[in-house]
Structures are given as structure tokens and as C-alpha cells.
Symmetry: C2
Amino acid sequence: MLPEEYEREYQSCRALIEARLQHYFCDGSGGRLAEAMRYSLLAGGKRIRPVMVLAFCRAAGGDIEKALPAACAVEMLHTYSLIHDDLPCMDNDALRRGKPTNHVVYGECMATLSGDALQAEAFNTLLQSELPDSAVVTMARTLAGAAGLGGICLGQALDMDGEGKALTLREITAVHNLKTASMLVASARMGVAAAGGSEAQLEAARRYALALGLAFQIRDDILDCTGKTDVLGKPAGSDAANNKTTFVTLYGVAECERLIREKTAEANSALRGHFANTDFLEALSINLEERKY
Amino acid sequence: MLPEEYEREYQSCRALIEARLQHYFCDGSGGRLAEAMRYSLLAGGKRIRPVMVLAFCRAAGGDIEKALPAACAVEMLHTYSLIHDDLPCMDNDALRRGKPTNHVVYGECMATLSGDALQAEAFNTLLQSELPDSAVVTMARTLAGAAGLGGICLGQALDMDGEGKALTLREITAVHNLKTASMLVASARMGVAAAGGSEAQLEAARRYALALGLAFQIRDDILDCTGKTDVLGKPAGSDAANNKTTFVTLYGVAECERLIREKTAEANSALRGHFANTDFLEALSINLEERKY
């Protein structure tokens, strides 16, 4: 796929998502809480997870309009996790997506509540999907599985617990699989489920997103070392400041670059033979591999 | 229904719930996060919400065994909301159900995460129900609706915002409907949905639980004034300490007692004609009206 074709398709998915996200929590009934939720939800970001929902839905032959509530649900859930991760009692970050973090603007109480409400509204939004009940139940189970003790919450707990400790490769891989890959895997599988895809497609989606998720996290670790705050939209160097073991501290940058290429190839090979057209998904993993922020 | 019959049925429902709750998050995979979740989830409490799920399921002719995951889900969601409400950035309470609050034992970071994970696991648990997909979707929508911006999160946000301000009856009723009644209404309706009940039964459940929820909250306000910390299991007098407008500050105790009786009668009359047997549910509202803690 040509770079401009990829870019056009990515931006067209992203525009659909942004337009739909604008519609939530804007009827005036939620007061300052709704305002705080929208502040973080509409702060931009790459929208990788919802794009992945739409891309897998399309690859599996589904109607991406019908997958939009699921795509928005994943972004709501991801946004809630960022708001809570940034709280003073967690990573205590003041900058996110180039803007002051939620608690800096709205205070800790409202930031905690806006994260809580975004999690609930993620499920609420997903459950309003105009799809067969069986697809809705599969998608909701997938999201809930990645959101709880088998996903991002345990990942964040292990991550916080690991600060200042020397972790093994096995341990940091486990943290990242829970904290990052689990929600990417859920996004990919929800897209397939929205299209009524097969078990084989669900499994291919899982393998693709798991490999891509690891490559994504290794790139994050490299960028935290080598990137600049104004390009990243969040503070560079925070891993070193928090004494975190990362792929870079374990392997160095050159070996990490090799690992990213290996995982990206693994992701793309998982797709082949299971979908009519995988051009966009293959370009997506390569673009994420090469990203600068 | 005789008091001893009511007590036997309540305790038999409660025992089923306690036994099922014991099974969650105990496989050792969740480390200290799972321990923190279980600490609050298994701290006792009256279990009114899950009992209401089972009672409405039975009243609507369903199999209460199949409603147990939904009942446990409601209790997980309620427990998460208590953990977050007690955080230093919210009500900053050190005692709950007669035990130190979650953040006092596990720290703020883990308490925030254990609440987050309990919310996700509430949906996860509910979505594992062995019931038709249509019932599962209805129950999950009901729970999500009460959990987010149309329920407890907005209720808590308005409640925090109202501290130290003079609120009108209309305002405190709105807060309590969101903060307390919404989850009781959801519990009642989820029980009916688990049984595959009719729209008329869902509506009767809503009206019962809304009236009961208001009576419940007025009793809470009276107990906060007149109760003792060791009986309540949480600090008495916290409303006055936080300068909160309550039903008691607006009306005085005697008028509140009259209101409770009125709301309880309204709750019970909403049930009649819609279920084969409402003895237990009617006894439940009367017992909650007369409770001492």
C-alpha cells in the first residue's frame, strides 16, 4: 500500500471516530463531570485502538459504521486508563497529549470520577451497538476481559510495583502484555466480532495485535529515551526518572530496533490467509514501528 | 410474612451471594491487586443490592442460581464505588463496614486500581451469565446505565460539589436518585431481566426501587445524625462534619420518619398485580425502613 493511500485510509477512519466521539456527553446533563470527561476524550491522540477496531471490522467484511460505538468504547476505556495513570497517586504526570492532565485542570476528585464514568460509559456505548446480541456480548466480554484483572489494571499494578526494582525480560513482557497489548488485542478482536468473523479470524487478530503491542511498547521505551517532550506530547525521560526497567535498559537501542522489526513481521504474517485484504493492517503495523511519537 | 420467615429468606439469599463472591479473584494470578479487591468485596455489608437481584428474579419466576453472576456483579460495582468514595481526594473516610478503608490498608494507588478493576470485573462477571444473550445485554445495559454519567458517578460528583452549600430539596433528591436509587433500581430490573420478565414487571421494579431508594437514603441521613459509629461500621456525624445538606437538615427527624413510611408504602404498592408473590419484597422494604445500621 502506498504511503499516501495508507495515510488517507487512516485519516478517514480517524475522522469518523472523532466525529462520533464529539456526540457523547454533550447534552448538558452531566455538568462539570461531563466537561472533564470530554476534556480528555477529545484531546486528540493517535486513536490507534479505535482505528484498529474499524480496520479489523472492514478486513473481516463488516460494516464499519456499525463498529463505531465499539471503536468509541475502546477509546473511552483507554482515556479513562490514561486519566487514572496520570493521577498524583500513580505516575503523577502533568502533561498528556500536549495538554495539562485531567487532575491538573479539574482536580483529583473530578479526575478520578471522570475516569470512573468513562469506564462505565465505555460499556454503555458498546452495549448500544446496533448489532446482533451475540456480537454485542462477545465484544463486551472482550472489552471487560482486557479492562480488569486480566488486563490493564493488573498491568498498571505490576508496573507501579516494579518501579525502582530490577525486572527480568519475562517480567516486563508480562507487564506490557497486560498494560498495552491486552487493549490492542481486544480492539482487534472486537472489530472481527463486529463483523461476525470466524474463530480463526479472532485468533489471527489476537496474534497480530499481541506482536504489534510488544513492538509498540518497545518503540515507546525507545522514544522515552530519545524523543523530545514537545514531539511526544508527554514528558520524555520519565522512565529513567522513575527508575523503570525497560526494554532499552535491558537490551540497548540497537537490539530493540531489531526486536521491533521481528515483532512487526510476526504481526503481519499472523494475518495472512485469514482476511481478503490485509494491506491496511500491514501498513498500520509498519507505520507504528517507524513512528516518532 | 413472619419476621423469622423474612430473616430466613434474606439470610439464605445472602449466603448464596457470599459463597459465590468467595470464588472470584482467588486463583493467585492477581497478586496484591486481587488481594485488595477481595479485602473490600468480602468485608461483609448487608448485600442489599444483590439480594434485590435474586428476590426480583424469584418474584418474576426465574432461577436465582442463574442470576447469581448478575447479583455478584452489582456488589462488585457497589464495592468499587465505596472504595473510590472513601479515597482521600473524595470523602477521605478511614472506616467502612467496621474495617479500615481500602486505601488505609493498601495505599491510594492500589485502592484506586482495585476500584477500577472491580468495575471492569463487575461487567466481566455479569457477561459470563448462563442466560440468553438478550437477557445478558439487557442486564449489562442496565448496570452500565446506573454506573456512569446517568448514575452513581454523576451523583458522587454533585454530592462532592454540594458540600458546604445550601441545597434545595429538589437538588438533594436528584443527588440521591443518582447516587443511591440508581443502583437499587438497576438491581431490581436486572433481577427481572434475568428471569426474562415483562416490560410491566421491569417498570414495577423501577418504581419500587426508586421509592425504596429514597426511603433508604433518608434513613441513612437519620442514622448519620443519631447512630453510633460502632453500630454503623462507619463514622457517625460525617454529614455534619462535611457541612452537607441532608433530608434531616431540611425537614427534621420527625418529618423524615413520616416521609420514609410514605415512600415505603409507595414502593410496595408499585409491586402489586405484577408478580405472583411479593411477600419477601414487601418485607424487605419495611425492614430497610426500620433498620438501625
